[in-house]
Amino acid sequence: MAFEVVVPRLGWSMDEGTFGQWLKRDGDYVDRGQPLFVLEGEKSAQEIESFDAGFLRIPSNGPGDGDTVKVGQVLAYLVAENESPPFPPADSPAKIATAGALSGQTPAAGKVAAPAPASDSVATAKPAMKASPRARRQASELGVDWTKLAGTGSTGRIRERDVIAAAKQQFVSPIPVELPTVPATTGKSVKAIPVSRLRKAIATRMMAGSKETAPVTLTMPCDASNLASLRQQFRATRRDADEIVPDYNDLIAKLTAEILARHPLLTARWGDQEIAFAEAMHIAIAVDTEAGLLAPVVRNVDQMTLRQLAAESRRLAVAARAGTLPEGDLQGGVFTITNLGMFGIDSFTPVINLPQAAILGIGAIIREPAAVDEKIVIRDRLTLSLTFDHRIVDGAPAAKFLAELRQAIEQPGPWLMP
């Protein structure tokens, strides 16, 4: 938040003075109490100390040495690092805000300095930030910094709609990107879409996952009949149509968390000097959205009940599809689950989501005949596809993980008991 540097009143009757010179340069860091500029009043020239701390930003049309300045006139701003000053870039003429009446306040000579913008004397220059409680809550949920927004309420208050608009802007709007040059060999016009910020992020991650790891994919069929029956039990006993029922991703995520706890290398992170183990069981679950692939992270899956997990994964998926997912919900995963079963895909080779060590692909559940106790019966088959980074894990332990996960999927009950 920017603090204004204004011309103080050096004596009771002073209305204007003569600007001497800046004692700091544009961009310098200024601490509280440091001399900032020289101001000549009716009787003397004084070094004016700063009331606030920040990086000094002086507009290009600010006063020069010897210029007359009015009491209350804004000379410059003190801003946070990398914060833009609240005046237009140098090439457009800036309007210098002047404060209204100084409320009769006369700072004691010698102690005068630029008042902080929170004081009422400069209220006309920059209104205090206001946001409704609902907007603040929404901002916190969507990871939006509301202090950066312009409010549309009748008194400039930031409203919920302002936060939602900002969140949409943040996550789904395409950013202008120069398209790679398309060779005009055919001479026809080529249809193209701009590369969105999300598309670009996906491209970078996928390239990294493919090029910077030693990926190996193992596939493992399992009998998912019990899992299907369990899910059916949840569906059959729900109290109303709105009740969230765990889906296969939730069930498998929960089982995977249990088995991963016994195979920490699959959640470890590669470093050139050391392999760092994960500290918490945060599992990313891939969500297909209109804008592109997102993998929001469900935190501490091992500590959640299945219903909590289902509620959280649903919340994340809804936010991901609505384009309102905060950046924080996409970070910190130690393992990813991705599901293409709904498209009938049986097995595939998912790409590792760096810096994670492995990713589990879930295929379609296929009803097919199987031999059980020397009889042919109809069972539900599901195929798991695990891509792991061979730098971190070898084939045998990865296969062992997969075998244990199969066993958990085939006999899920005991693993789901708290």
């Binding site: 409704s132 409680p133 609902r134 907007a135 603040r136 809550r137 309420g153 009748s154 008194t155 208050r157 409203r159 919920e160």
Partner: protein, 564 residues
């Protein structure tokens, strides 16, 4: 004081002087209605006879020849003020003549004389010959309350002289002299009484203190299951026949009177005339003068009577025409009717329906325009109902006539002629369930009573402009369905309360406080209120129009809220 033992006919000892006279008259009305041979007795001191309740109660009991005994123990002091000073007429018994009933002035310390007169009076009452006033002249030989100084206003000599005339000692001498009882027999009675008192004291001291968690028990009667309901919907079904608000409440009352002989109606002009607002039209011909009882202009009297009637098994409906009129009886409503269930630990119920018109319009001016419901909603023990549609009016009145709590049923007069769908089937609407009159997502507007159709019109106008307004009618302000409002605000983030009644300490203030507390993070804008002007209601049409929220005011307030 504050003692109850309804099991033996002791219906409570009040801390307020006077109301027991009205309650005894009400009990007498119950006995008459229910054709019981019971007799009601009011015991009061000389202090009560200078109180309006004495005048109104005796007059009403005399009009209807109720089986009631009014027994005044004239002990010559009301607190510390001598009766000789406080009464223009120094006698009590002869006041009976003013009310057209027999009166007696007795030596109150002569047990046999009192017994004889009271016996005569009971026989008169049972014979349908009406009430009797009996003045028992006596003296208070103790202080007004235990531990109070007693000799600043009278002398020790006076007190000692009266102690010698102890009625028990005199009775004992008389019985011994006549040989009617032996000294041993009388001593045995004294011993038995002393023993009973000792046992009672022991029991009290050995009993645990009440559980603090029960401090708010018995404010209301245990909820009764909603019975006989065939239409369960909280909104009228589509295609239902349409009748007026007035007709809807008339149907509710007529239907319940037909099935419940304990219901009677009291009010001015509600008998043969059928009520100022046709509230009882035609019912007199069906049910006669006892169940449709015309009253003198004596609001405190008949409201106080309704309390006594309700506690003795009947179900009074007090039709006070305009809510303004009943203010003279607020003490009976607040101190007696609303507290009776609590004071009696739920041993008495208070099924009293108090109904009347409220609201501003048609230059009725300030004594025929009041709303008052926030005031009543403030007190524990009352249900306060303000229906805005014929459907709600009938369903809520049905519920009131089947519930055991006192209900203030306030009918916005300007709405009495509106028509709306009311099913033919039986239904009731429980208290404390707000109606979502129209759904919306941009702002929640609460409207009460007369303001409901105004706000609905505003919502329709704004819908044409693309704004979606959720209109909620609480229907009952006590209990207030804050949860429905909170859920709506959680959706819309914006809240306006439109109420014709005054803003200060009103329903809007209550809703605002509760939503600011429970729904703070839901709010996307400050909570707004739009109320009638805080002024008595003027007569002049232009002035009158200026004190009520009009459609343009509501439009403006809603638009401002949307822009906040």
């Amino acid at each position: 004081m504050h003692l109850f033992s309804p099991e033996v006919g002791m219906m409570g000892t009040s801390g307020i002087v006077g109301p027991c006279i009205l309650q005894a008259a009400g009990a007498g009305y119950s006995f008459k209605l229910l054709k019981s041979d019971q007799v009601a007795v009011a015991f009061f001191g000389d202090g009560a006879v200078n109180n309006g309740a004495f005048h109104e109660g005796l007059n009403l009991a005399a009009i209807w020849r109720l089986p009631v005994l009014f027994i005044c123990e004239n002990n010559q002091f009301a607190t510390e003020v001598p009766f000789a000073y406080a009464a223009g007429n120094p006698r009590v018994g002869n006041r009976a003549e003013a009310y057209g009933m027999p009166g007696f002035e007795l030596d109150g310390n002569d047990v046999l004389s009192v017994c004889e007169s009271v016996g005569d009076a009971v026989r008169r009452a049972r014979a349908g010959k009406g009430p009797t006033l009996i003045e028992c002249r006596t003296y208070r030989t103790r202080a007004h309350a235990e531990g109070m100084g007693d000799f600043s206003y009278r002398t020790r000599e006076d007190v000692e002289k009266w102690k010698e005339r102890c009625p028990i000692a005199r009775l004992k001498s008389k019985l011994l002299a006549d040989g009617a009882a032996s000294a041993d027999e009388l001593d045995a009675i004294v011993d038995e009484v002393a023993q009973q008192i000792a046992e009672a004291q022991q029991f009290a001291e050995a009993s645990p203190w009440p559980d603090p968690a029960t401090a708010a028990n018995h404010i209301y009667a245990a909820p009764k299951p909603v019975t006989h309901v065939t239409v369960k919907s909280l909104v009228p079904p589509k295609g239902t026949r349409e009748i007026t608000y007035m007709k809807a409440t008339h149907e509710a009352l007529a239907e319940e009177m037909a099935v419940n002989p304990k219901i009677f109606v009291m009010g001015e002009g509600i008998g043969k005339r059928g009520g100022n607002f046709n509230t009882t039209a035609g019912l007199y011909d069906l049910y006669g003068p006892v169940r449709l009882c015309d009253t003198p202009i004596s609001e405190r009297g008949f409201v106080g009577m309704s309390c006594g009637a309700a506690m003795t098994g009947s179900r009074p409906v007090i039709d006070f025409m305009f809510a303004d009129f009943v203010l003279d009886s607020v003490g009976e409503i607040v101190n007696q009717i609303s507290k009776m269930q609590y004071m009696s630990s739920g041993r008495l119920t208070m099924p009293v329906l108090l109904r009347g018109c409220i609201g501003i319009g048609h230059s009725a001016a300030t004594h025929h325009s009041g709303n008052y419901y926030p005031m009543y909603a403030h007190f524990p023990g009352l249900r306060v109902v303000v229906p805005s549609t014929p459907y709600d009016a009938k369903g809520l009145m049905k519920h009131a006539l089947r519930s055991n709590d006192p209900v203030l049923f306030l009918e916005p007069r300007e709405l009495l002629g509106i028509k709306g769908p009311v099913p033919l089937e039986d239904y009731e609407i429980p208290f404390g369930q707000a109606a979502i009159v129209s759904e919306g997502k941009d702002a929640t507007v609460i409207a009460i009573g007369r303001m409901v159709p105004v706000v609905v019109e505003v919502a329709q106008k704004l819908a044409a402009e693309g704004a979606s307004i959720e209109v909620i009618d609480p229907r009952t302000v006590a209990p207030l369905d804050i949860e429905t409002i909170r859920e709506s605000v959680a959706k819309t983030g914006r809240l306006l309360i439109v109420d014709e009644c005054f803003a200060p300490f009103g329903i809007g203030a209550e809703i605002s406080a509760q939503i600011a507390d429970r729904g703070f993070d839901d709010l996307d804008a400050p909570i707004r209120r739009l109320n009638g002007l805080h002024t008595p209601t003027p007569y002049s049409p232009t002035l009158e129009a200026a004190v009520v929220p009009r459609i343009d005011d509501v439009l403006r307030a809603t638009r401002e809220l949307l822009a906040e």
